[in-house]
């Protein structure tokens, strides 16, 4: 197995729990307060990981990508928080948010121990896997389940953004090899 394959597999494994957690919703689907919580959690995780990359990486492409992640996810998160405040919705913790946090904590701990090229490769590979998983959850579970049209619209914009991030991350992985 190549290094690239190993990294991608490792990153994907950390997210299996999230896929499983979103599958739980198949029957009824999450409520809007739960969806808001998941969206906020997913954004905060990527902001935190991006900030770690800005602290640790010296690669200009990795840093540019991390800056983009921090900037974009902060923008979406602000919109999401403004929206839930406007709608008087209180985000509600749930199994998917918890699975996201659990997987992210393990990945963060792993990244903290790495440096140089090893860090850059792991960060980029994880960003591909992470966005792929979040995009799947958005497309198949969160957007179809959202009831409020403004929340649904924000999630749809989020999906377009994260697909773009996924493509950018895939390009970064390619550039690093």
């Amino acid at each position: 197995m190549t290094m690239k394959k190993t990294l991608l597999t490792a990153a994907a494994c950390g997210l299996f729990a999230v896929v499983g957690a979103t599958a739980v919703w198949a029957a009824a689907g999450p409520t809007d307060p739960q969806i808001a919580h998941i969206a906020h959690t997913a954004g905060v995780i990527d902001i935190k990981t991006g900030e770690l990359a800005l602290k640790k990486s010296h690669n200009k492409d990795v840093r540019a990508f991390a800056e983009e992640m921090v900037r974009d996810h902060k923008a979406v998160d602000k919109q999401a928080l403004d929206l839930v405040a406007k709608l008087k919705v209180t985000p509600e913790d749930n199994a998917t948010s918890q699975a996201l946090n659990k997987g992210a904590a393990a990945e963060y701990a792993k990244l903290e121990k790495l440096s140089g090229k090893a860090f850059d490769h792991e960060y980029a590979a994880n960003e591909v896997a992470y966005h792929k998983t979040v995009n799947g959850a958005l497309e198949n579970t969160l957007i179809p389940s959202a009831h409020n049209p403004q929340l649904k619209s924000l999630l749809e914009t989020g999906l377009k953004l994260f697909r773009s991030h996924q493509e950018h991350a895939e390009h970064l992985v390619h550039e690093l090899h």
Partner: protein, 114 residues
């Protein structure tokens, strides 16, 4: 009619004729235009655009994210912050592929006519 008068009349007719021909063969160039393209919901409002050399393209970022209008041929690369706009004047004919360097799924094609 003497010979000189006849020649003068012929010359006048020839001048009028050549003027008419000139106005037919060289139509006046259309005035330069400015095309406004909105960036919203992670997309360009015009996916394809036909313009002419001398025209200006202005991009207006109405999204919540920073974008760029970046020509793949390297002829321009404009960062456009949230709520801001940026523009470029088209200087040469061709088919220009434009993307947002931050969000590669955003693409636009500008056909620049001479």
């Amino acid at each position: 009619m003497n010979c000189t008068k006849a020649l003068r009349q012929l010359a006048v007719v020839a001048l009028i004729g050549s003027g008419a021909l000139a106005s037919c063969s060289a139509p006046s160039r259309p005035a330069s235009k400015t095309y406004v393209v909105t960036m919203a919901n992670m997309d360009f409002s015009a996916k394809t655009l036909s313009a002419h050399v001398g025209d200006t393209i202005q991009w207006v970022n109405k999204d919540m994210f920073r974008h760029s209008a970046t020509a793949k041929d390297g002829s321009f690369d404009i960062d456009i912050d949230v709520g801001q706009s940026g523009s470029t004047k088209l200087t040469k004919p061709g088919n220009v592929q434009v993307t947002c360097k931050y969000h590669p799924t955003m693409t636009q094609q500008i056909l620049v006519n001479p």
